[in-house]
C-alpha cells in the first residue's frame, strides 16, 4: 500500500456537477438515451477525478457519480432484493428502502466496471468503497430470512464475491462502509462475523468506514474486526471522540476524519494540521490516513474542493515537518 506518510484520501462521494444532476432528471423522464447518459457519467467521473487530483488527494475514488444512494444502488444489483417505495429518514428526506424477498445471490457486478473505468483515467492509487452487508440489511426490510443474522451472512457472501472480482481486476484497497454498526452495539458480533465472511480470500488492504453513532459502545471491540484500517469521523463532534480511543492500544491503521462535511465553513490549513495532530495521540503518524469525516456529496462543489485542498496541504506540511 501507500507507504507515504499521512496519505490523503476521500471517503467516497463528491458533489455531482449541476449539469449531471440535470441530465439524470432528464434521463429519468426518458428524455435521453442510455448511451448518452453513460457518456455523461464518464465525463463527470473524469471531471471529479481531476478535481481530486488538483486538490492533491493521494488515494481517490470516482466520487460515486453513478450511485444515487448507498443502500438501494447495491440492492438493485443483488438478486433477492426488491424496492417497494420510499421511506422517510427525516423531514422531507426519503430513501428507497429495499426489502429482502428471496434468497440473496450475486447477480451483477457492483463496482467492477466503475473501478476499471477509473483505473484507465488516473495513475493515482484507488480505493473502492462498498456498503457493508450489516448496514445493507439494517437499512432494508427482511421478509425472507428467519433472522437478521442469517440475512447479514447471506449478503456477506455476495459482497465477498464482488470483492474477489475487484481484486482479480487489480483493486488493492477496498473500503467497507458500515455506518449502521455503531448504532447497534448489541449486534457487534454479527457485524464482526460479516466482515470475516466479506474479506475471506480477499487479498487487498481493507478499510472500514463508520460514521455517526456512539463509538464508545463499540470500542475496543472493533479492533477485532478483520480489517487493516478503521476510518472514523472526528471533526463532526469536535474531536471529542479522540478520548475514547486512547483507552486501549489502537492496533489498526486509523482513517482520521479531520474536516467536517456538515458545514460549509472551509477549515484553514493550520486548523486542519492541529486536527490531524490529534490523531497522533491515538496511533503513531505512520498509521494515520487523512480524510474528510464522510462523503462530500452534500456540499457545494467549490466548498468540497477548497476543503479537500486545504486538507491535502495540511497533510503535506505535516509530512514535511515529521520527516524533517
Amino acid at each position: 500500500m501507500n507507504r507515504r506518510l499521512l496519505p490523503t484520501t476521500v471517503v467516497g462521494s463528491y458533489p455531482k456537477p449541476n449539469w449531471l444532476r440535470r441530465l439524470i432528471r432528464e434521463y429519468e423522464k426518458g428524455e435521453i438515451s442510455d448511451k448518452v447518459m453513460r457518456r455523461a457519467y464518464d465525463d463527470a467521473v473524469k471531471a471529479v477525478v481531476k478535481e481530486q487530483e488538483l486538490a492533491g488527494v493521494d488515494i481517490l475514488w470516482d466520487g460515486e457519480m453513478r450511485r444515487d444512494e448507498m443502500t438501494s444502488y447495491f440492492a438493485r444489483r443483488i438478486e433477492g432484493f426488491t424496492i417497494y417505495g420510499e421511506v422517510r429518514v427525516w423531514g422531507n428526506n426519503y430513501y428507497p428502502k429495499p426489502a429482502i424477498v428471496d434468497e440473496l445471490r450475486y447477480k451483477d457486478e457492483l463496482a467492477v466496471s466503475d473501478y476499471k473505468f477509473l483505473r484507465k483515467i488516473t495513475d493515482h492509487e484507488i480505493k473502492v468503497p462498498i456498503t457493508g452487508p450489516y448496514t445493507l440489511v439494517d437499512w432494508s426490510f427482511n421478509e425472507y430470512y428467519r433472522t437478521r443474522e442469517e440475512a447479514v451472512y447471506a449478503l456477506a457472501e455476495v459482497i465477498n464475491q464482488e470483492l474477489r472480482r475487484l481484486v482479480d481486476e487489480g483493486a488493492n484497497y477496498i473500503q467497507i462502509d458500515d455506518p449502521a454498526v455503531p448504532t447497534h452495539p448489541e449486534e457487534i458480533e454479527v457485524a464482526k462475523n460479516s466482515i470475516e465472511i466479506v474479506t475471506r480470500g480477499v487479498n487487498a488492504y481493507i478499510g472500514m468506514h463508520m460514521c455517526y453513532g456512539d463509538y464508545s459502545k463499540i470500542y475496543p471491540e472493533i479492533l477485532e474486526f478483520n480489517v487493516d484500517q478503521i476510518d472514523l469521523e472526528f471533526a463532526n463532534r469536535g474531536f471529542k471522540d479522540v478520548e475514547i480511543f486512547k483507552e486501549y492500544e489502537f492496533t489498526k491503521d486509523l482513517g482520521f476524519g479531520c474536516i467536517d462535511v456538515h458545514t460549509r465553513r472551509i477549515e484553514s490549513v493550520e486548523e486542519i494540521k492541529d486536527n490531524i495532530r490529534k490523531a497522533f495521540s491515538i496511533v503513531e503518524p505512520k498509521r494515520v490516513y487523512v480524510d474528510p469525516d464522510c462523503g462530500l456529496k452534500l456540499l457545494p462543489s467549490e466548498v468540497a474542493f477548497e476543503k479537500l485542498r486545504n486538507m491535502c496541504q495540511a497533510a503535506r506540511e505535516l509530512r514535511e515537518e515529521l520527516e524533517g
Binding site: 417497494y84 417505495g85 420510499e86 421511506v87 422517510r88 429518514v89 427525516w90 423531514g91 422531507n92 428526506n93 426519503y94 428502502k97 426489502a99 439494517d138 437499512w139 426490510f141 427482511n142 421478509e143 449502521a180 448504532t183 447497534h184 455517526y212
Partner: protein
C-alpha cells in the same frame, strides 16, 4: 367476547404525490407548516383516511402528514422549545431534531387543532394524537432542571390543546408514550399526575399508547393511570405483555398492536387472529382495539394499506 375495533396508531406514510409536493414547497431542511396549501393538504389527508377505511379500519388517525419530527413535531408549536441537531429515533433508521427547552413552555397557538379540524371534517371517528412524557424525555432541558416540572408544564399545555380539540369535535384523545417503557419508577408517578392534568375538564375517551418494547417497566402502576384505554405492543412484547395482563388483570380497555408496523413482511392472518383471541380472553373491556404496533410511516406507501388489510381481515369475522 369484546367488540373488536381496528384502529391505527398515528403516522401514515405520505402519499407519494404529497411527499413530492412537500419537498417542493418546504425544501429538505425547513420546519413543517409554512406555505402549504390547505386544500392540497386536505386532499392528502382524505386519501390516507380512505386508505384506512378501505382496509377496514373503524377508528382513524390523520396520518400526521405534516409531522417532520415524530413526537418532537409537537415541540415546534410550543413556545420555549428550540429545535436542534438530528438524533436517531429509538432503534429506527429514522431521525428527529432534539428539542431544547430554553424557556418556560407555553402554548401560544394551536398545536394540532388545525390539522384535526381538517381530518374531522372528513371523518368523525378520528383520534387526536398528543404526547407528554415522551416529548419531555426526548428533549434537552436547559430551563427547568427538574423532570417533574417539565412534564407538568407540558401536561398543562396538552390539557389546553385537548380542550380545544374537544370543542372541535374530538371524542378520542391519544397520548403516545413510547419513552414510558424505558422510564424509572419515579417517572411513573409523575406521569400519573400529568394525566390527571391533561384530562382535567376534557370530555373524551383517553388512550395511553406505548410501543417499541414490552410494558414490564410500567406495570402494575399504569393500571392506576386515569385513562380509558392502554395501548401495548404485542409484536415486540407479545409473551411478556400477555403475562403482565394475566398477572395483574386489567379493568381498562386495551389497544393491542398485533401486526408489525415496521416490516413489509405480511403476517399470517390466522396467527394474528389467534393472538387477538388470546388477548381477548384475558381482558374484559367492552371494546378491544387492534392496531399495528406502531405508526405506519416506517413502511412504503403501498405497504401501509396492505398491512392494515392483513390486520382487518384477521379479525374480520370475530365480531359476527
Amino acid at each position: 367476547m369484546s367488540r373488536v375495533i381496528p384502529t391505527t396508531v398515528g403516522s401514515y406514510p405520505r402519499p407519494p404525490w404529497f411527499r413530492e409536493y412537500l419537498r417542493k414547497v418546504e425544501g429538505l431542511q425547513k420546519e413543517g407548516g409554512g406555505g402549504i396549501d390547505e386544500a392540497t393538504y386536505a386532499k392528502a389527508v382524505a386519501e390516507v383516511i380512505r386508505e384506512q377505511r378501505d382496509a377496514g379500519v373503524k377508528v382513524f388517525t390523520d396520518g400526521q402528514l405534516l409531522w417532520h419530527d415524530l413526537l418532537c413535531y409537537l415541540a415546534t408549536r410550543i413556545d420555549g422549545f428550540e429545535m436542534n441537531g438530528l438524533v436517531r429515533y429509538f432503534d429506527n433508521n429514522l431521525y428527529y431534531r432534539i428539542p431544547k427547552v430554553k424557556a418556560r413552555l407555553e402554548r401560544k397557538r394551536n398545536i394540532i387543532v388545525d390539522e384535526f379540524r381538517v381530518a374531522y371534517s372528513i371523518e368523525r371517528e378520528m383520534k387526536a394524537v398528543l404526547s407528554c412524557f415522551t416529548l419531555a424525555t426526548l428533549s434537552e432541558d436547559e430551563f427547568y432542571g427538574n423532570k417533574a416540572d417539565l412534564v407538568m408544564d407540558i401536561a398543562h399545555i396538552m390539557n389546553q390543546e385537548a380542550k380545544e380539540l374537544v370543542k372541535r369535535g374530538a371524542k378520542y384523545i391519544q397520548i403516545d408514550e413510547p419513552s414510558l417503557l424505558y422510564a424509572e419508577k419515579e417517572d411513573l408517578s409523575i406521569m400519573k399526575d400529568a394525566i390527571e392534568v391533561i384530562r382535567q375538564d376534557v370530555d373524551a375517551k383517553f388512550f395511553l399508547v406505548t410501543y417499541f418494547s414490552d410494558a414490564e417497566r410500567i406495570f402494575p402502576e399504569v393500571l392506576d393511570f386515569n385513562v380509558d384505554v392502554i395501548g401495548l405492543d404485542f409484536v415486540e412484547g407479545y409473551e411478556k405483555n400477555l403475562d403482565l395482563l394475566r398477572e395483574y388483570g386489567v379493568d381498562k380497555e386495551i389497544q393491542a398492536g398485533v401486526v408489525d408496523g415496521r416490516t413489509t413482511k405480511m403476517e399470517d392472518e390466522e396467527q394474528v387472529r389467534r393472538k387477538v383471541e388470546a388477548i381477548d380472553e384475558i381482558v374484559d373491556g367492552e371494546t378491544l382495539y387492534v392496531s399495528p404496533n406502531t405508526g405506519l410511516e416506517f413502511l412504503p406507501y403501498s405497504k401501509a394499506s396492505e398491512k392494515l388489510k392483513v390486520l382487518c381481515r384477521s379479525v374480520g369475522d370475530i365480531n359476527e
